[in-house]
Amino acid sequence: MRKDHYIKLWLKDFWGIFTHELKLIFSDSGVMVIFFLAGLAYPILYNLMYLNGVLSETPIAVVDYANCSDSRRFIREVDATRECTVKYRCVNTDEAQTLMRDGKIRGYLYFPSDFGEKLARMETATLSAYADMSSFLYYKNILLAANQVMLKEVGSIQMERYAAAGFTGIQAESLIQAIPYEENNPYNRAFSYSLFLLSAILLVIVQQTLFYGMSMLVGTAREENRSFASLPDKLEGHGVGRVVLGRGAAYWLIYMGISIYIACIIPAMFGIPQRGEFWEIILLLLFFVTDCVMFSMTWSSLITRRESVFLLFLAMSPVCLFLTGFSWPTTAFPEFWKWFSYIFPTTFGCQAFINLNTAGGDLGTAHDQMVALTIQTIVYFALACIAVYAENWYLHHKEVLQEKKRELAAKAGVDLDEDRRIIAGDDGE
């Protein structure tokens, strides 16, 4: 009977806190901008930006001192690649360098005057490629185009040379390429920039917008002399669990919706591969969103004013993105940053999403990340409870603490009242 009563009361409190939090969320325009404008529009914007993730036809120039049939063929073939287009033919390197400085070309090929002679003498002929390193993609394209054409040229020149040495047909072929190779890049065929970036960025958007929005509400509550953590009065200091779960449920509900949109609908809209099983992605999102809610509840409890979260933590977004290991590989993280990355749900969530959704693995491939997300959720749930408990303790001992602060300020010679007047805009003068 008593137990039944307890459960009823628990659910009633939970429901009250849950609906109250939802009301707060939907009546705050700033939070709505972050949750819905950012949560819904950012993924679209990023997709539009990176829609065409492959850089093609990088403009280059050629400086051809050799001017022989071999160099001309080489130039034609480079021009024919997807990666580069030969825009200018320069008479000397100065001209090419000027063009590069003006940003008209992103690199140039230089054929020395002995290029043809060396080929005729059956020696190694060297050409030089120069690349603008302001974006690594320019470099990658020029390197790739030059190397592809070089390998092809090598093949045909070798054929001639071996024929001259008396090797023909299959014999020559097996010499030129004793071990032919086959290349596979199953998940990202053209090394498209958008595929790898978007797979990582989508879940970072989920975590960051949730964290910013929740922190804004916590800050607002504190400014208005309310607290994010007020416990139901009748319980006299009990009921931390239902405050954390009740508030969490409100965000969880909204963010399950937003994250399904971001992780399932957005990729479908923009044709990002969805190789994972739908239900496995949903399962991942369940774990991830729960973790993000607990993560945000823990850290947002440090926020004292509405705006502070942007002032303090906006720059963390790119940092979080790097800590997912999507670009700089996790194996090369310095030890400290590896541990630091365990703070964020995205570190595991993004990797799991990439493995499941884009690489098309089954749940087994995301096993480690799922375990990590679970551990994180438990830890952050405990921390969020502690934060609520500590906040209540503070509220009950506020008077004493403020007295202490005043004493300290007096010792340091700062007149708090005068400062307050100035901030409040009263004319002290």
């Binding site: 901008v33 059956m122 040229e153 071990i179 190779y181 998940y187 705006e307 303090l312 493995n355």
Partner: protein, 389 residues
Amino acid sequence: MGFWHNIGAVARRELRIMRNRPIYLLGSVVTVAFCAIFFLTFLKQGLPHDLPIGVVDMDNSSLSRNFARQLDATQLGKVIKYDTFQDAREDMQSGKITAICMIPKGMYADVQASRRPTFTYYLNGLYFVGGALSYKNILTMINLADGAVQREVLRAKGVNEDAIMGRIRPVDVDVHQIGNQYTNYGYYLTNIFLPGVLALTVVIILIYSLGAELKYGTSRHLLSTAGSSIVTALAGKLFVYTLLFSGIGLILILLMYDWMHFPIAGSIWNMFLAIILLILASEGVAIFIIGLLPVPRLALSIGALYSVLAFSMSGFTLPVETMPPYIQGLAEAFPLRHYFLLFSREVIFGTGFAGWWQEVIHLLIFVLLPVVVMYRLKRAYIYQNFPKK
């Protein structure tokens, strides 16, 4: 006289506010310092070492073992052996390895008998840097293995060593990376990311500072301190913040190009100028946003959304010319984009003023933005007739 006196009064008032709200210094100095430490230590290696590459050796001959050893011995690679392709594939899908090399059964025997066995490799292109570098590494190693076979045959035929080289490699490409000759990933990212973080901080802090006057209803006090002139009020505030942020900016430039020895073809003085222009332009944007939308809670959210986009829009990762045309136009609305163009002319090519004067003009246009909204901001400050929060 009154003008200068009032500016001084506003600046003193601002300093006092900053003392009382440590968030201003935490949000600017500490945030930028944290990011500087992050990018400079996180990417310290420049190029990642020992990327895990899976090798499935079905052949187990001296040739295949030698290949795996050589791959392992490269600076870039670290070989992890698998018994079956299935195991290797699962590890690649879970992101543990960057590539898989399949060495077919009987490869050595096939090579000896000129039967041309096919070597197959799989790349994980979802982890960009790791995948691309392993690709380069495997390609080099397989071409070397190929060359070794050719050399053996040619030696057996009695061709002399000089002629062998000419036959194995008739054409060679010699690549020169201008502006970053070691392909250092740390230089590449930090060069733009740190100024980007600074620009973001400027926008946020300034919107907050101007918005706080509305939020706490102190805007009339600010105006009266400034002698009822919005220009003086803004000038006084900007004086404090420009000094603060320029200090941070100069330290960043010194940190990168002097202390950490990032390659720079041009002059460090020009980069000082560039970062100060970036700061001024960002201040212009901040005033524009809060003036257009004098509701602190919205202005700050919008400012945050705008600032984060700048990193992608600057085009230093995926070049802007790859983006759709309407996005290309939008990219011009970000000061960081122009800073990046200025940077690439000065730091990579060392063109001097002649190369980047247009970017200076673009950045200065941002500085003029507040003029458009100044009157509106003043009215908001006087009447305080917008939602306060």
